[in-house]
Subunit: 258 residues, 2 copies
């Protein structure tokens, strides 16, 4: 099967103009088929502040009400996505920017209300991998922001890590998928106060041990759950680390395996 | 040759939620291949006002400085384009939203400074019709907002009428292109105070006469120049009128011919 590299980037790269510029050069240099998924970082919050909108929190969880959804659409699908696409084009990467509504790539449904109504937040229901594949076969590099749609005309805010892993799972039917989560650290740490304590290989069993021992920080758990879920469902390889790993194979990072 | 219908809509439809909803139903019902091009209406201006940004004018001409470009990207490529795409998906039209940077569809260059520096405004240099064709052949309906790129990483603001006519011209190599400009009137009027004075057929020679007689209002001239230019360069048919013409063939409108 043809190899497909899926890279997810977040705020630490997006919010730093110089880092983003270098990343776009590096990403463009990846050989073969590739997909980029980007988060929104703090840009939506910063923008909401400029408009005098207060972030809406219930029990410490962020709620996406209509004004905040509009801001997410403007910043994620507008300013961030289009500047990333233009930057990739500069580097001869024929990027095409997408939300899940575009080409009906990612269908979601509004998160059901249990104790909290998260507002316009969507849980992924279906990735239409054939449509993404058609774009790749036509010679384009999809660049996804973290917005999906319910197929009834409503855009929904969706976690970018989840978007990346759901795309990776769906594409693994037709491609040998390698998923790379770039973040500010060199990998998953055993000691959050020691940046050198990178776990270089994390298997399902060592992961279970680490969780039991409370070694892995709570913030990493949803990301890692996403990773193992993706591996169980057909993704070939997953790495977590800083963006140097996308260009240099021997970069220190966390390789996740079943 | 396969028929391709290109429809351009502006503020009068975009800014009215009910009209837009009906338009998206009608557009989705167009048989065969199609492309939508939308302007930004007053949404960018309204949004700039909310942010306390003053529109920058020199000699009465609007200048796109960096803050205003960012707003154009957020509203045109973000809020407007993505809600239109989601609305079309609701109507089973497999839309894909694009700026000229996406899939490198429309290359432009910053308008040269003669007496006025218009800022981040781009004049279309090249439409890569093969990339648009690839999207259509893959089963997608392109939805363009009026932003282009200079291939060096810079997005540029471009007139939506021009975007529509340049796409129409480029696509006419491979398709029989019909271009429809939707606006608030039923067509080009001979008397701006009489809405019934619609010119039903406008040929190049009658146009020249009307211009000489000062019958056609100054505001319509650039739009009509665009139309004749497109017809000279291979577009098969052009109509100007209100959006009813896209569904009902005998709707009163102005048909423009060479």
């Amino acid at each position: 099967m043809t190899k497909l590299t899926i890279v997810k980037i977040g705020g630490n790269i997006i919010e730093n103009e110089k880092d983003l510029r270098q990343f776009l050069i590096d990403f463009s240099a990846i050989e073969g088929e590739k997909i980029l998924v980007h988060g929104g970082g703090k840009s939506a919050t910063a923008f909401a502040n400029r408009l005098g909108l207060k972030p809406k929190l219930i029990d410490g969880r962020r709620i996406t009400d209509k004004p905040n959804l509009d801001i997410a659409i403007m910043t994620y699908a507008g300013l961030l996505n289009k500047n990333i696409v233009a930057g990739l084009q500069k580097n001869n990467c024929n990027a095409i920017g997408l939300t899940g509504a575009d080409a009906n790539t990612i269908e979601s449904e509004k998160r059901p209300v249990k104790t909290i109504d998260y507002g316009f937040v969507g849980d992924v229901k279906k990735v239409n991998s054939n449509n993404i594949k058609a774009l790749i076969l036509a010679g384009f590099t999809p660049v996804f922001c973290a917005l999906t749609h319910n197929t009834k005309g409503q855009l929904l805010n969706t976690n970018a890590d989840t978007v990346a892993s759901e795309i990776a799972i769906a594409m693994s039917t037709d491609f040998e998928v390698e998923l790379m989560y770039c973040f500010e650290l060199q990998g998953v740490l055993t000691d959050i106060n020691n940046l050198d304590s990178v776990i270089t290989t994390l298997s399902a069993s060592t992961y279970a041990d680490f969780v039991e021992q409370g070694v892995i920080s709570a913030g990493m758990l949803p990301k890692l759950e996403n990773c193992f879920n993706a591996l169980y469902k057909g993704v070939s390889a997953i790495q977590i680390g800083n963006s140097n790993m996308i260009t240099t194979a021997d970069t220190l990072c966390t390789k996740i395996k079943l």
